[in-house]
């Protein structure tokens, strides 16, 4: 066990740190992470991904033969740590880089790899994920969107929801039912759908924060050419599991690191926010106890992830500790947001105002409610831990 860098790791870290310093705007991270308008934010994030690509950092974990960096796990860890330290934003093409790309690498034809991967890396094409439906959330396999063969194309009808980035996406990894006769898991096919095709309608879905980060997707007689099936017909469920594995896998460590950054910011906030009766919020013993508890949770999550990585480096399979990550992050991040809004006093009653440093916590507080729902609800994650890690019998 050694948490210090080897000389090679230290030099890699130095390179990454210098790159972030050179490629994020002056003063980045010291004030607000927010751009003036959603359009400007998207423009900034698109630009940031282009810089990542040009710097050779896009597709860090992807194999070199597909244009990735082929980075070792340790290098990925260092990159995540430095990205968190620099408070770097997620690149715009995060669904493509983290989910669609790795799934195409695992299951795509050579032609599909040639067509899609390079443009995912460069950010030239943005992807979204058409999995969930209004009637199929946690029970994803019950999905109802249909795809019916008509000549050389499948005709898709249905509705998808919670589709992040759909309003700016060029492509969609789409699950649709191609067979209704067997068990629900076995009649699903995985499609690569052109978001500019006729019949694709995107409606922004405003969330609790007031933002519209995700969308509803209405699909009416959308024609998807046969060659845009990923893998085999009716084998979509198995392929979707690859996507979800990547979603939870790559997400876990990044979230654990992000939790530490958010807690540092909360401590700084508590050390300046006034406390009723004089002094600052951080003088309040109850606040101190709650922050210390959050520190324990953040550290435990981070260190659990490190131990899972250690197992993965030895065996190629991540240790069970990693499956706890998103569950732990959600609970910690929700408590963190709640505490911040309490510390803010009257400003905790405002959504915005003359204090953007405080409004940032209101946003975080509201946004955190989604953490225990998106990418697998906490209930589903506990099912997974109970059944797949602890080997408990399947619930009925």
């Amino acid at each position: 066990m050694d948490f210090r860098d080897t000389p090679e790791e230290a030099s890699f870290r130095k390179e990454v740190r210098a790159w972030f310093q050179a490629n994020l705007p002056e003063g980045w991270g010291s004030t607000s992470l927010y751009m003036e308008s959603p359009d400007k934010r998207i423009e900034f994030l698109r630009d940031f991904q282009r810089k990542l690509y040009e710097g050779g950092w896009a597709g860090l974990s992807w194999p070199k033969e597909y244009g990735g960096r082929g980075a070792t796990l340790i290098e990925q860890v260092i990159f995540s740590q430095e990205a968190a330290r620099a408070k770097a934003p997620q690149p715009l093409g995060v669904i493509g880089l983290g989910m669609a790309g790795p799934t195409i690498i695992a299951h795509g034809t050579d032609e599909q790899k040639r067509r899609y991967l390079a443009k995912i890396l460069s950010g030239e094409e943005i992807w979204c994920q058409g999995f969930s439906e209004p009637g199929s959330g946690s029970d994803l396999a019950s999905l109802k969107a249909t795809a019916v063969l008509d000549g050389d194309a499948y005709v898709v009808n249905g509705q998808k929801v919670w589709t992040s980035y759909a309003h700016i996406a060029d492509w969609c990894i789409l699950l649709a039912r191609t067979d209704n006769t067997g068990p629900k898991h076995s009649g699903i096919t995985y499609f690569l759908m052109d978001m500019h095709a006729p019949g694709v309608e995107v409606r922004p879905l405003r969330q609790i924060t007031g933002d519209a980060q995700f969308n509803e997707l209405f699909l009416t007689d959308v024609r998807i050419p046969k060659e845009n099936i990923l893998g085999e017909i009716n084998d979509g469920w198995r392929i979707a599991m690859t996507t979800l594995l990547h979603e939870r896998g790559t997400l876990g460590f990044a979230l654990a690191v992000a939790g530490g950054v958010a807690l540092d910011e909360l401590v700084a906030f508590a050390k300046t926010a006034p406390r009723a009766g004089g002094g600052v919020a951080y003088d309040d013993p109850v606040v101190r106890q709650r922050i210390a508890k959050l520190h324990e949770e953040v550290q435990a999550n981070l260190l659990n992830n490190y131990r899972a990585l250690a197992t993965m480096m030895k065996t190629g399979i991540p240790g069970p500790e990693g499956s706890l990550s998103k569950l732990m992050f959600s609970e910690t991040n929700q408590e963190l947001g709640k505490l911040a809004v309490e510390i803010a006093g009257g400003y905790g009653l405002l959504e915005a105002g003359e204090r953007p440093d405080v409004a940032r916590w209101q946003y975080a507080h509201l946004r955190a409610r989604g953490n225990s729902i998106e990418a697998g609800t906490s209930e589903i994650l506990r099912n997974i831990i109970a059944e797949r890690v602890l080997g408990l019998p399947k619930h009925k």
Partner: protein, 365 residues
Amino acid sequence: MEFGLSEDQQTLKKSAREFLEGEAGIALARRMLEHESGFEPSLWTHMAELGWMGIAIPESEGGLGLGMLELSLLLEEMGRVALPSPYFSTVALAVPVVASLADAATRSEVLGAVAAGERKLTLAYAEASGAFDPAAIEAAAQGSGDLWTVTGTKMFVPDAHLADQIVVLARTGVGVGAFLVQAADCEISQNESLDRTRRLGTVTLGGVAARPLGGEDAWAEIERALDRAAVGLAAEATGVADAVMSMSVAYAKERQQFGRAIGSFQAVSHTCADMLVAAESARSTTYYAAWAIDEGAPDAPRAAATAKAAATTGAMRVCEDGIQVHGGIGFTWEHDMHLWYRRAKLCELLLGPATVWRERIASLL
């Protein structure tokens, strides 16, 4: 960077588990409940033969020269069987104070005897107030040079009735210092302890001769040594959490109600999932703190406080849930659940509860 245990560390842990399951198991803890002293001399001798007494004592003083991480692995395995042994009191609680404060001659004599399995130690800290707090220390040390005496009454001293020598924290004219006394010079009575597999005692010192370990105002060094003891408790708590979680999960798979295993009910399986979160978090924070102490990392004191608070409260939660998952049988004296529950409670409260260690974390953030 390397985030896992080395081959040697894994081997040590595995062999410790095999040894402790063979020689002790949870059955030994149960046997010792009504035993007069709660001490098994042959087990002590075997552990000494394996080198465990001197695991973190330098080779030059007769030890194995390993570190807090290796000691934590042993303590974790001891927690798994709620081992009744003055090992924690000697090796994890008292030795760090002697090792970091004493002059070369005292170190060599005391640590050498411990490493050889010939001496048992403990540390006397808290008093009648019940608080593990330097400000609450009233026991008085008087003297100069090597000639000191200590007067006072120490309480909640683990394994006091088994110790040959006791490290006593006492107030001098200028602060708090640590003093080594002969147990035979003190009046020692066993308390009726919650955890009967690690009994606490009251130690009355009526001007007993004491050898000073370190200076007259040594609290800063004592506090660092107590960080090691705190990580030791976290390590034991980790073992408790792991044992209780495994046992509860096994029970949830096997126990049938309403025609199915209770582990298929989400109210039970989700509780088990949360037990895993607590058990793994206990282990991760403990290993990191042990590593940070061994490496003298700047965040070692904070890591130790984090491990003490997280691992011991985590283990308590696992024990509480473990009793719940077991239902009525888990609440009986005959079932072993309460042995672990009591040990977890000791790990949680000895050296101060989580609130104390969380205040330390907050002061270091």
